[in-house]
C-alpha cells in the first residue's frame, strides 16, 4: 500500500509540468469530427516538429512556433484519441484531442441470419446492424434503425430499434408464405438489404394412391402434391421413400418429388403392404390385393 502511494505521488509530480506545458505551448481542439478540417495554435518562437499520433495514423510536419497550423478536411479520418506533440531540440509540449465519427451515417454492416428458414418460426430471423460514417468509423451515438421484412406479396413487418454503442439488434418471425423475403435495414437514407429464403416446412401429410401398371406386373404408386401445414408446396427434389412389404421381403425406393409429386413403379405382389414417408413424416398405407 505504501509503495502504491509513493508511486502515485511520483507520477503526479512528473505529470504536472507536462500539463502546464500543454496549456501554454499548444492549443489543439478538444474534439473534431472525422474528415473535418481543424487548426492547432502554437506559442513561442523558433522551429519545431509537430506530431499527431492516433490509433492508426501518424502525422509529422515542420512548423514555426507561434503560428496557427491548419489541417485540410480529410486529414484525420480515423476516429479515436490522438496525442499532439510539439517537439523542439530543447523541449517537448503535448496536447490531446479526440477525432469523433462523422455524425451522418454513410454505411451499414447488416448481418442477417439465417439466409434460409422454414415458414412460421417465431423470432426465427435475426438482424444486427452496425452504423458507420463515410470513413468506416463506428458511429457510437444513438441512431434510429428501421428493420423491414417484406415478403413477395407485399406484407411487411417493421421494427424500429435505437443503436446502442453503434449496434442495433432485432428478431422477426418468418411468415406463413414461402418465398424470398427482402430484409432491409435503414438509417436515414442509407439502406442495406439481404434476402431471406422462407422455405416450406415438413409435409403436413402424405397421401398416396396406387394403380396397376398397364402390363399388370407392377404397381404404380403416386403421391398427391405435397404441402406443408401452411399450404406451401413442398419443393421438388424432396425425397419420398416408398416401401413395399410382402411375404417377409421388402422393396424400397427413395424418389425425389417432381412437379410436386413422387411416383414410382414397384413389383406387384398380392397382399403387399405399401407405404410412403418423407423425413419423419409418414403417409398412408395401402394393402394391395389383386382381383
Amino acid at each position: 500500500m505504501r509503495r502504491r502511494l509513493i508511486s502515485l505521488v511520483v507520477a503526479s509530480l512528473i505529470a504536472t509540468p507536462c500539463l502546464i506545458a500543454q496549456d501554454e505551448a499548444l492549443q489543439a481542439p478538444k474534439s473534431v469530427a472525422a474528415g473535418d478540417g481543424f487548426a492547432i495554435q502554437t506559442t513561442g518562437t523558433g522551429k519545431a516538429a509537430l506530431y499527431i499520433v492516433g490509433p492508426s495514423q501518424v502525422l509529422k510536419c515542420d512548423v514555426e512556433r507561434g503560428q496557427s497550423i491548419s489541417f485540410a478536411p480529410g486529414t484525420l479520418h480515423n476516429a479515436g484519441h490522438y496525442l499532439v506533440i510539439l517537439k523542439t531540440d530543447s523541449s517537448s509540449d503535448t496536447s490531446e484531442m479526440d477525432v469523433l465519427p462523422a455524425s451522418s451515417p454513410s454505411e451499414l454492416s447488416f448481418l442477417a441470419r439465417p439466409s434460409r428458414l422454414p415458414v412460421g418460426l417465431h423470432d426465427g430471423i435475426t438482424g444486427a446492424v452496425y452504423v458507420f460514417d463515410a470513413y468506416k468509423n463506428l458511429i457510437a451515438a444513438p441512431e434510429s434503425v428501421s428493420f423491414e421484412l417484406s415478403n413477395p406479396s407485399g406484407v411487411t413487418q417493421t421494427h424500429v430499434v435505437q443503436t446502442h454503442n453503434g449496434a442495433a439488434l432485432t428478431a422477426m418471425d418468418s411468415t406463413q408464405q414461402q418465398g424470398a423475403d427482402k430484409f432491409t435495414a435503414r438509417v436515414g437514407d442509407v439502406t442495406s438489404t439481404r434476402i431471406v429464403g422462407q422455405v416450406p416446412g415438413d409435409p403436413c401429410g402424405i397421401k398416396m394412391s396406387t394403380k396397376p401398371s398397364p402390363s399388370g406386373q407392377q404397381i404404380e404408386l403416386e403421391t398427391e402434391p405435397l404441402r406443408d401445414c401452411s399450404g406451401n408446396a413442398v419443393p421438388d427434389g424432396t425425397i419420398v421413400t416408398f416401401t413395399e412389404t410382402y411375404a417377409g421381403a421388402q422393396t424400397t425406393a427413395d424418389v425425389p418429388l417432381k412437379r410436386g409429386i413422387a411416383q414410382v413403379a414397384m413389383p406387384a405382389h398380392n397382399g403387399a403392404m405399401l407405404s410412403a414417408a418423407s423425413g419423419v413424416v409418414l403417409g398412408n398405407q395401402i394393402h394391395w390385393e389383386t382381383h
Binding site: 454492416s109 447488416f110 448481418l111 442477417a112 441470419r113 439465417p114 439466409s115 434460409r116 428458414l117 452496425y130 439481404r194 434476402i195 422455405v199 416450406p200 415438413d202 419443393p235 421438388d236 427434389g237 424432396t238 425425397i239 419420398v240 421413400t241 417377409g248 421381403a249 421388402q250 422393396t251 424400397t252 425406393a253 427413395d254 424418389v255 425425389p256 417432381k258 414410382v264 414397384m266 413389383p267 418423407s278 423425413g279 419423419v280
Partner: protein
C-alpha cells in the same frame, strides 16, 4: 582406406552380389509380380488348374488365363477380361487381385466343381467375388470352364431425365464483411445408440436432412470420461451416405476400437453439414430385400437403376432395427459392378451372427457415384 570407406565398399559389393543372384535365380513370386514367367504348376489336378488360373488373373495375364480355359470358344478374350473387371467403369476397373482362395465342391475322375474367391483390392478395401467353376480332365491336364456372366444388353432407348440439380454460389472474395453467406443445410440426428461390442464401442444412429437443399454430411462423436474430459474422437468415415437430398435419412456408424463404455459418462455428437452441388438423379430402387436368418445372416436384394445414367459405384447401407424400432446395427457393402439402366444387380450385406436374432426390420439406402459426377 579408413573404416568408413571399407564398410561402404563392402556394402556396395554385397548389394551388387545380391542383385546378380536375384536376377539369375529369381524367387517365383517375385518373377510373377515382375511380369515374367508365372509360378504356374502343372495342371495335374483340378486345384492346380484353378490355382494357375487365379495366378494368371492376379498377374493380369489375360491372354494366358484365357488360353487355359476349356470353354474359351464360347466367348472372346475381351469378354473374359470385362467379365472380371467390369464392362463399364466400376470398383473393379482400377482394382488389383490381392489374393484368391480355392475350395473344392465336388470331384470325380474326369470332372470337378471348385469355388474360387477372388479378393480384389479396391479403393474401398477388399472386394471378394466368388465364382463356382467346372473343371474337366483333358488328357493328363485339367482345364477350367469359366462361367462368363454376359453383360445384359440394355435396349436402345431414350430415357428422359429431368430431375433437379442444385448449384451453389458462395460470396466472392471481394464482398464486404457482413455480406450474407448461404446457410449450411439443417441436419438433425434423429436416432443415436451406443453399444459395447467385442472390438470396442460402436455408436450408430440416423441423420436426417430436414432442409430443402442437398447436404454433404458427416458425423463425429467424442467419448467423454467421468470428469467430462474427452477420451477419444472418431467419425463415421464411409459408414454413412455423405450426400443427403432434402428429407433424406442416412444411417451412420462410428467405431471406437479398444474402448469400453464403462469408462464413458457421456457422448458428444457433432453432425456436420455443408452445401453441395448435387443432382436428384439417378433413382435407385432396392428390390426384393430379404433378411436371411443365421447362420450366414445377411440382407440381400437387388439394385435397379431407374434412370438413364449409369451409376458406376453403388454403396449400399443397411440399417437394422429391433422390435421396438431401435437401431441395433448398421452395415454396408459396395457393389462392384456398374448399375446399368433398368438392370438388376444383386447385393448382399453380412449381419453379425449375435445380432441377427434381435433384428426384426431393416431399411436400405443407396449412395451412388457416377463418372464425372459427385457422390
Amino acid at each position: 582406406m579408413n573404416k568408413g570407406g571399407l564398410l561402404a565398399a563392402f556394402l556396395m559389393a554385397a548389394t551388387v552380389a545380391l542383385v546378380i543372384v536375384g536376377t539369375i535365380w529369381p524367387a517365383p513370386s517375385a518373377l510373377a509380380y515382375a511380369g515374367g514367367r508365372h509360378v504356374f504348376q502343372s495342371s495335374a489336378t483340378p486345384a492346380d488348374a484353378v490355382n494357375n488360373l487365379g495366378q494368371a488373373i492376379q498377374a493380369k495375364s489375360w491372354e494366358k488365363a484365357y488360353s487355359s480355359l476349356a470353354n474359351k470358344a464360347q466367348f472372346t478374350e475381351p469378354q473374359f477380361e470385362h467379365d472380371l473387371t467390369g464392362y463399364y467403369p466400376s470398383l473393379l476397373t482400377y482394382a488389383t487381385l490381392d489374393h484368391f482362395d480355392v475350395r473344392p465342391l465336388h470331384s470325380s475322375a474326369d470332372n470337378a466343381d471348385m469355388q474360387i474367391t477372388l479378393y480384389w483390392s479396391t479403393v474401398v478395401g477388399l472386394a471378394p467375388v466368388s465364382r463356382d467353376v467346372h473343371v474337366t480332365r483333358n488328357g493328363d491336364q485339367w482345364q477350367v470352364a469359366w462361367p462368363v456372366a454376359k453383360q445384359p444388353v440394355v435396349p436402345p432407348q431414350v430415357i428422359p431425365v429431368n430431375y433437379l440439380r442444385w448449384d451453389v454460389i458462395y460470396p466472392g472474395a471481394g464482398d464486404d464483411w457482413g455480406t450474407q453467406a448461404v446457410e449450411a443445410p439443417h441436419v438433425r440426428i434423429v436416432d443415436m445408440h451406443p453399444v459395447q461390442r467385442a472390438e470396442g464401442v460402436v455408436i450408430m444412429g440416423e441423420l436426417l436432412n430436414e432442409d430443402v437443399v442437398p447436404a454433404y454430411v458427416s458425423v463425429s462423436a467424442t467419448l467423454l470420461g467421468k470428469n467430462q474430459s474427452p477420451i477419444a474422437t472418431e467419425s463415421s468415415f464411409d459408414k454413412i451416405s455423405h450426400l443427403l437430398l432434402p428429407k433424406q435419412v442416412t444411417p451412420f456408424l462410428i467405431r471406437f476400437p479398444d474402448r469400453s463404455l464403462s469408462g464413458v459418462s457421456s457422448i458428444r455428437m457433432s453432425p456436420f453439414s455443408t452445401l453441395i452441388s448435387a443432382s436428384a438423379d439417378p433413382v435407385i430402387e432396392i428390390d426384393n430385400e430379404h433378411l436371411n436368418p443365421a447362420p450366414d445372416a445377411s440382407l440381400t436384394g437387388q439394385l435397379i437403376n431407374q434412370s438413364g445414367q449409369i451409376a458406376n459405384v453403388a454403396h449400399v447401407l443397411g440399417t437394422f432395427y429391433d422390435k421396438s424400432g431401435q437401431v441395433v446395427w448398421v452395415a454396408d457393402r459396395y457393389v462392384d459392378t456398374a448399375l446399368l439402366p433398368q438392370t438388376p444387380v444383386p447385393f448382399s450385406i453380412h449381419i453379425p451372427e449375435d445380432l441377427a436374432r434381435t433384428i426384426s426390420s431393416q431399411r436400405t439406402t443407396v449412395a451412388t457415384y457416377s463418372e464425372g459426377g459427385a457422390l
